[in-house]
Structures are given as structure tokens and as C-alpha cells.
Symmetry: D2
């Protein structure tokens, strides 16, 4: 069992709205209040924070002060590339003026990252992509995406950047849709400081096998960060970790051991109808319980089984680990 | 070709927001302004309108006046059962006080429907359902859903009610998820004045065969209204009609002929990044073009082919109709 | 923990072929040999058996003798309505002569069911449906399906019949595709002796919530039998129970308690690349382990939580049950 | 309109079987007979042929003679890497002896390709992958896949090789599952003579945007061949071209123009219940009709629209092209 440091996307402690409950699921929450909430979880130590901040006139100095006071640390800065002004795209916007704005916002995010000692700047260009057949020239979309991220990354070779891919939403088709595609685009950027944020839920959503794709990204040296959550595999539901895909989450944690990931594990949840603090605690409790289960795992036996690709023996090992010695005795 | 009357859900002319672009895709639009926009489409004659109305202090009298002035008509009133206060459910809310509120809002919608001469009150209980495994007692959910709709419907046996089913969103699982399930629930209600709004996009989304399910609903006498749009079949994207599923939309229009539906046809779109008026015009143009194609159809030949269930001959008939005589000549 | 009797579809011990490995995944296995294999599992007591039998000249008497010798019992007879002669459909075949053949085969299955003291005759009309848009008249398909099943069921009101629904395969669209749709069709049959075989994997595949739909079928008095397996939710992969959807399988077992199901649990697996006997044992071991977990469940606490529809508390209860006291201590 | 040469996977004229209709959908067909059937289509000129051949003792000489007599040409040789002996995998088989057999079969396919003047050897390692969680070590699977294909490709640097990716079936997870992943694996092979067979249906199935991914493959210089068919996007249904995804097929044909693909276009269909010759003719007719529609397309207007990413204007252009001048006049 790894003694992971935990973190969260700060948005999970802020206000949620969707296209139906337009009066929002709760009151507005400033970035400063959200940090306080995150601190109240108890185990959250690092944060991925959106920039610009939420709340009238909130400054970087205030954010730094609140982080220090609560004992939290900025892990990442994620520029808001998907608000109204970027509705037709950020890096892939048809208007060159808006594309420049996206790059400028990326650069401001770098400054904030430096000011808050964040480890990386994250790009999640949620409005980059298309909605309709025949709407775009796909080569153009590829080039704009590659050029936009590169333009920001080149301005600060010492800063780490990371792309979080997702298949869709809010666009019906997002450009950075899968791990493999994003790796190809990163190759085309030709820079060394852009990698990938592996979001477990996005991997489920993309119908990937997370434990497989984690290795793919890791072996190419492009794994920058890991976010966890769960969903029903057909949408980015951002639910508590392990609530639906328990066995695959366990396999994913096992893969984290395999690549000797030491890093923090960040939660990316949208608890629309739940208390955010309890929702974070639930996920951390589950992650720890699953990770401690892996201590029971006879890794040698599992590796030998996998050498033979013996599905049923692998099942037996997993079920024994998961359902426990006491239980399986009953079952024999 | 049927000379259909067209309509729309009024929301398509209002403000859109989602969980990312929380500053909305455009400015706020009151119910009155939205009616003006709907009128500007040119072919929209009837409206499905949300109640409570959007905009500070907008009254029923103002709405009626605006409808009259623009030559539009209220077709349906849809109570806002999915705002913040109903986030844990309307008819299935665990709190009996909120369930009563939902019924009360349904009753107010009846009054408004009478005042505006609307043909039916629509229920789309988007927050009724569940998100997590083990979260609810499914029997309880069934009973609450049946009781809630019945409670409203029984207060006015002369009013027509209609349920619009959808598989999910905003809940990860909505209660009224498919046509067949909704028909069973309506049976359990034991009232005569509740039927179904058939939303083409929701049928695609539920992985139904729309032309098949339309007949199922129609033969049981439960078809109250028809809404059209399109999506990528994995989410309720609310796109322009025919933009993705052209052939199945054509088959659906053919099924409307078969059940001798006389209209109206309502649009249910969310043109987040497009002009709403153009988006409505695009759909109407496509529907008319497709419907006029059906005039070319040798219905006798199609029926004979279907008697034999001859897939390739059916394909030939459809492609000839769709791609036209001139084109197919080229192709022979 | 219920001391369930276990059973299996006999096909899981026979030969598998698919459209690629046309030389089959193993040698041919007669019905008699397959019974021997089923007996070798140790816990399999009842069988759902295809008719006509596999193997040159195998007779009902031989089958009865083999069952007696091995201590197994026929639970169901499933007529082979999906072989070459029924490729264009059995009950929905466009040719009335083939439809009659399907009914005749159904009647022969009744005779065999009586001779082997089977509890029900199962219909799985895998070739009934359609592949292409515009291929069929959906009303005709509905009527043929209802009439065909009714025609068989009416010939023996003392025999129980059951329909196993599935969304697709081998047809791209099967007629009896979901529980709700099948319940509506059964209503239209107007006979009392037709119900539903609830196949857990088919329910996953249809994107149903199995624990929910089990209750729906049960409350309408139409639950005849229960089959278990697992899949990746996008195809009928017929894998070992609980291997993918562990939590939902647990919830399903809990729902079986709720409806006080006493009956046998049948396995429906296709272990293409695994040993069938081990594959059956793996599923039974998992079912027993999961079912014994339910003994740990504080049912009162769960029901109270579900009354409040409290997702996170339900998660806590499930995770505590599943991950065990020892583990969760670690995690606190 | 491009005057494409047409081809087909020869299997579409052979015998079909699946796991239910184990007595097959029709009689056995030898490779020689299948060539005769392909020739009977009229427009089929080139073939992708499985090796070993079907039929007792069929020789390369006989195949060559039959090709010559019928005026057809071998385009590709596809070794049968997915029969019984490879059920646990070909290149990724846990047994090194079977992996060697796979490489050996690949080498024999090269010889046959030379003897028949085929342009490329195709790998479709349908049994390479996994079925269950925890069954395999994903890094091992990656390495075996890369090494296996490379081992064959290196033996003949003058021969072209091509991988046909597919998401799943017969495995629940195939290794070469998407275009982007396959491109990454090809990079790792470090050889110049391995590319991709772009199968339109597999691209739909992988939830890719075919016109987009075609460009991705083409720009990297890895496009070797193009196969066409259609499906319902959730399985490899191998249906007639354009029967479901008409608009996306049209967009794909437009992308073929953009990359100036000169053909041939191969059909990959499994007409289980249809006449194979008619099924091929239907697809060719549809492809030609759609391709001739593109002549009506105002490409300048489309490109300008795509520069603006104007979804509704793109829709208008497509609908005008598709539904024709006469029809759209009616609709205005």
C-alpha cells in the first residue's frame, strides 16, 4: 500500500450548474471558500485550480495566503479555456484573434503557476473540436491544436504542461479525445515539456482499458498527473471513485504500483447532489481500501498467471483478494 | 408530403448554459423575447413553453398578448420540475414536502395551460431517478413516479398530459427512460389522460428504433406529441434534424405517414454555438425536403418488399428515393 | 445467504464456433457428453437444454438416462429456433411455412419438456428482428411475434413458457429486446403461461439497471427464471459472473433476496477460450462469495439510507460490506 | 467523381457461420467458387484473399488460374491468424511456439502474395488481445504485438504490410483497436513497410470520425488500403455501404478526394441473410451514387464554411447536395 498524497480539482468544491438546473445546484463559491472546503476534507493536500479565479476581485496573493493558512499546495493551474468567449474553440477557434487570446490566457496561467509554485499547467480545451459532420477541416483542427499548445509551451521550457483528453462534452467531439491520439499530437508539437493528465473517468469514457493505457503513456515518458473518479462509461459523470467500475479501478491502482507512481492522486468529481466534502472523503476511503487490498495480492502468482494469460486463474486471484479469505472459505 | 404545422420548445430560443461555460453561451432571454425570436423563424406556429416563465415578473397575460401579436399558439406547458429545488427529484423526491411541491407546480401548469389554450401539459421529470448503485429502492421510485403523475392528472380529467421519456441527464439514470417502460408506468397510473411525447432524439439516445417505437406508442393510443432533433446516439445533443441519422429520420417520417399523424411537429434543439433562428430554419427545411422525398416512394413496392423482409431491395428503394433518379442513373 | 440450487445452459459445455474461428474452439460435444461435463462441475444440478439435441441420433430416453445417472435434472427445454432454416426468422419469418415450422418445433419442445419433467419451455428467437432500416413493417413484426409465441403457449396451458429477451445478435436488432418491451408483448398475447427469463448479462447489455428491472418483472408476476453471467455492457460476452460488474451483480443478488427468489440460478456462459468446468466453478464461487457478503449487510441501515436516497451513505454501506471490516479499518 | 476500381474481401462470397447458427447460413464455398461469385458481381476487380485457402486441396496455381480466367486480381493476402490454433492469440499468444507459428504463417502469406502478385499482406490478428480484467500484462501484449508484426515485415522489406485495426470481436478487447494506437505501435516497430488498412466500419465501431482519422493516417504516410461497409456503430455488422451512416460515408468519400486516393475501394461485408452478389452490387451502386453527388458540391463554398466552422451553413451545403436542387426548391 502506497501512502499516496491526495489532491483534488478545486471545482469539486465550487458551484455546479447544468443546462437544466440553470439556477445552479447550490450557491456561488469563491476560489478562497473552495480552498477552505477542500481543507476541511482532511486528506486533500494539493489542488488543481482554475484560473481566472472565482469570486469578485480574488487575487493571487489571497489565494496563496489561503493555501498557506490551510496547509494546502497548488499542484496545477488550469486556465478557463472553455467559457463563453471560447465557445467556438480556444486553440482551434476559427478566429485568429480568439486563438491568440487562448494562448495569452495560457501564458497568464504560467505566471500564476509560478507565483503559486504549481507543478504544471493543465490544458483541457473543452470547446476545441466540432459538433456536426462537414463542419470543420480536420487537418486544420489538428494543426491549430498542435500549434496552440506548442505556442504556450515554448514560452516557458522550464514549466511542465499537460493535456487532459476527453472524448466529448461540451463539444459532441473534442479534439484531444483519447490517450493514443493525444500522444500523436504531442509528438507533432516537437517540444519536451508537454505530457498527459491521465483522468481515470475519461479513460473509462473513451472505452479504453485504463491499466493498459496508463502503461502506454508512462512508457513514452508522458505521464504528468493522475486524476481519479468513476462514471457509467457513457458520459463523464464524475462520480466517487470505484462506485461503478470497482475491479477496473483496482486493476488501475495495481498498474500505478507497476509504474511506481509516487505522485499525488487527484480527485475530479462533480457531486451535483451530494456534499462535496463527504464525496471527497468517500473516494479517498475507497482508494485506500482498494490499495490496501493489493497488499494481499500474491504478485508472483498474478504475474505467472498473466504470463499464461489464464483468465479464470486471474479471476480467482482477484476475487480472493477482493472478497477476502474469510468469505472465500465460505464459498468453497 | 404532409403540410405539417411546425412548432418548437421555446427553450431553444433562450439562454444556454452548461457545467463548463458557466457564464452562459449568450445573454439571458425572457420568455417574451424568446417568443419574438420563435416568430422570426417564419414557419414556427406553436410552442411548448416552460413554466415558470423566464424574466423578471413576466405574467401569463403578457405571454398571451405576445403570442397573439406574433401569431403563435401555445401547444404545451412544461413545468420546470428540474431546477435547484427539485435537484433530488420532483415526483420521486425522498422528501414528501418536495413531492407535494412538484404536484402543486404541475397543477399550476394546468392553470396556465388553460389560460393559454395549450393542448397538453408535459412532464419531463429530469431529476427523477438515481445516480449511484444501491442509492434507491427501485420499487419506491416506481411507485412515487406513478403516484406523482397520477396525482396531477386526476385533478383535471379534461386536460391531456404527456410524459417525455429520456434515458439520462441530468441524472445518470432517469426513471422514465424508454417508451416501453413509460407505457407500463402509464398503465399503472390507471388514468386515461396521460400519454407520451415522442422525442426523436430521445428515442435515438435510448437505442430504440424510432419508427418501430412510434408505432408501439401509437397503437396503444398514447401518442400525444412529436418532437424532432438529432444527436450522435450517445447523448441528448439536441442537434438539427437529420444532421446525423438521415435515413432513420426518413424512416421515422414515413412511419408518421403510416399512422397518419397530422402534426404539429415540434423542434427540440439546443443550438449552443449556433443562431437559434437559423438552426430552426435548417431543421424545418430538412424535414420538408425529406418529407417531399417520400412522395417519390413507390409505397406499394416498399410494402411488398417489407412483406418479404428483403433488406437489399429495401435499400435499393430507399437509395433511389434519396439519391434521386438522375444520380442513380449515373450509378448504373 | 440463500442456499441456491445452481444450474446452467447446457450449451456452455458444448462446442463453440464463431464467424472467424470457423474450425471451432474445440471438438464437437454431444448433448450426452455435455451433461457429463455439467455434472463434473459439482454444483450444477439443473439444466436448460437445447432441442434438437446435439449428436447423431441422441434420443430423449438417452438424455433422461444420462440425467438420472449423473443426478441432474432438466429445468428447461429451449428449441433451436435460430439455426440455418430460421435464419430469416422463426415466429417473424416472412414465409408462413417457416413460421409454422417454428410453432411446430415449439410444440415438439413441449413434448420433450414433459418427457424430461422440465419446468418450462424457453423461447429465445434470436433470428426474429431485422438488420437494415426500412427492411420490415414493424407492426407486422410485433403481430407475428405475439401470435407465434401465443400459438405455442395455447397448445398446452399447463406448461410454463418463458421468453429470454436480448437486444441483438445474431440479428442487429432482435424483436424481444428489453424487459419492458417483452412485458408489453406478453400482455398482447393474452395468455397466462408466458413469462420472462431474466438473463443478467442481457440486462446489462440492454443498458438496463438489473436490480430495478428484476423488480419490474417480478411485481408483474412474470419472472420465470434467472440466468447469470457478465459482459462489457456492449455485447453479450457471456463471461464469468461478477468479473466486470461486481457491484451491480451484488445489487442484483440483493434484489433477488428482496423478491425472495428461491429458485435455481442458472449460468449462461460461453467460455470460448477457457475450460467450461472451471468457468462454471468460478461463477458459482463468486456468486456464493457475493451472496454471503450480503449477510454482513445492515439491511435496516441500507433501507433507511435508500429512503433518503443518500448516494454517499449507500456507497459507504456497500464498500464496508464489500471491502470488509479489516480493510476499512485500515482506510479510516 | 472518381472512377474507382472496386474490390472485396473474398470472404463475403464464402460460407458464414456464427455461434448460434452453427449449421451455417449456407453451404461451404471454396476459394475457387468464391472467386467466380466475386466475378459475377461485375464491378469487382481486385480481391483480398484469406490464406490458407478454403476447400480441399486448393492450390495457388488453381487460384491464379481462376483469377486470370475471371479477369480478377489479387490485391491482398490475409493469413488466417484467428482459427482454432490461434484462439489464445497469434502474435500475442502466451506460448512462444504458437507465436512462431503465427510468424511462419505470415511468411507463407508473403510467398503466396508474391505468387499471386498481391500488393500487400494484411494482418488482422483478431485473437490478439484479452477478455477479462487482470488477464494479461499489457506491456507484454504491446511488446509481443510489435515484435510479431515486425518479425514478419523484416523478412521481406520489399513487400508492403498493413494492419487492420478493430476494437473487439472475437476478443472482447483486441490489441490493435484504433487508428491512433496502431500508428503508435507501428512507430515502435521501426520498419518502413507496415501501414494501415482503413476499414470504414471499424472506424465507426471505434467511435472515430472516419474522415478525420483517414487524414491522420494519410498524413503520416501509413494508408495502405481502404475497405468500406457500414454498421450500427456498436458492433462490426459488416452491412452494405451507406445503409446506416449515409452522411458520414459521404464525408468519408469527400475525404478520399481530399487525399486524392485513387483506389481501389474494397468491400468488407458479411451478408449473412442476403445474396452476396446483390449485396456487393448494392454497395457499389451506393458508393458511385454518393461519389457522383460530390460533383454537385461547391467545394470552394464548403472550404470557406469550414474555415468559419459554420455548422449550419455546412449542413445547408450537404443537404442541398444530398437532397438535390429539385427537392430543396420544394422545401424553401
Amino acid at each position: 500500500m502506497v501512502n499516496y498524497e491526495f489532491g483534488a480539482g478545486l471545482w469539486m468544491f465550487q458551484q455546479f450548474v447544468d443546462r437544466y438546473a440553470t439556477d445552479a445546484y447550490g450557491p456561488a463559491v469563491s476560489t478562497l471558500e473552495a480552498i477552505e472546503r477542500a481543507a476541511a476534507v482532511g486528506d486533500i493536500k494539493v489542488l488543481d485550480m482554475n484560473y481566472p479565479f472565482a469570486g469578485e476581485g480574488v487575487t493571487v496573493a489571497q489565494v496563496r495566503e489561503t493555501l498557506q493558512r490551510t496547509g494546502l499546495r497548488a499542484q496545477a493551474i488550469t486556465p478557463h479555456l472553455y467559457m463563453r468567449e471560447f465557445q467556438m474553440g480556444s486553440f482551434t477557434n476559427p478566429d485568429p484573434a480568439v486563438r491568440r487570446k487562448a494562448v495569452d490566457l495560457g501564458k497568464r496561467a504560467i505566471e500564476v503557476a509560478h507565483q503559486l509554485d504549481a507543478r504544471y499547467v493543465k490544458f483541457w480545451p473543452g470547446q476545441d473540436g466540432f459538433d456536426y459532420p462537414f463542419q470543420v477541416d480536420y487537418r486544420r483542427l489538428w494543426d491549430y491544436s498542435v500549434e496552440g499548445v506548442r505556442a504556450v509551451a515554448q514560452t516557458d521550457p522550464g514549466m511542465q504542461f499537460a493535456i487532459e483528453y476527453k472524448e466529448k462534452e461540451p463539444r459532441t467531439h473534442m479534439f484531444f479525445s483519447s490517450a493514443a491520439r493525444t500522444l500523436l499530437a504531442i509528438e507533432d508539437m516537437g517540444v519536451e515539456n508537454v505530457g498527459i493528465v491521465f483522468d481515470l473517468g475519461h479513460s473509462f469514457f473513451a472505452k479504453e482499458t485504463p491499466a493498459d493505457v496508463l502503461q502506454l503513456v508512462s512508457r513514452r515518458g508522458k505521464l504528468v498527473s493522475v486524476e481519479l473518479n468513476d462514471n457509467w462509461r457513457e458520459w463523464d459523470d464524475d462520480m466517487a471513485v470505484g462506485s461503478v467500475h470497482l475491479i477496473e479501478t483496482l486493476e488501475f491502482l495495481s498498474a500505478l504500483h507497476q509504474i511506481t507512481w509516487q505522485g499525488p492522486l487527484l480527485l475530479d468529481q462533480f457531486p451535483f447532489r451530494e456534499d462535496a466534502i463527504r464525496a471527497a472523503q468517500a473516494s479517498i476511503r475507497t482508494i485506500r481500501a482498494l490499495d490496501s487490498l493489493l497488499d494481499r495480492l500474491d504478485l508472483g502468482a498474478l504475474r505467472a498467471t498473466q504470463e499464461r494469460q489464464d483468465a479464470l486463474e486471474a479471476q480467482r486471484i482477484v476475487m480472493d483478494m477482493l472478497l477476502g479469505a474469510g468469505t472465500t472459505e465460505v464459498s468453497r
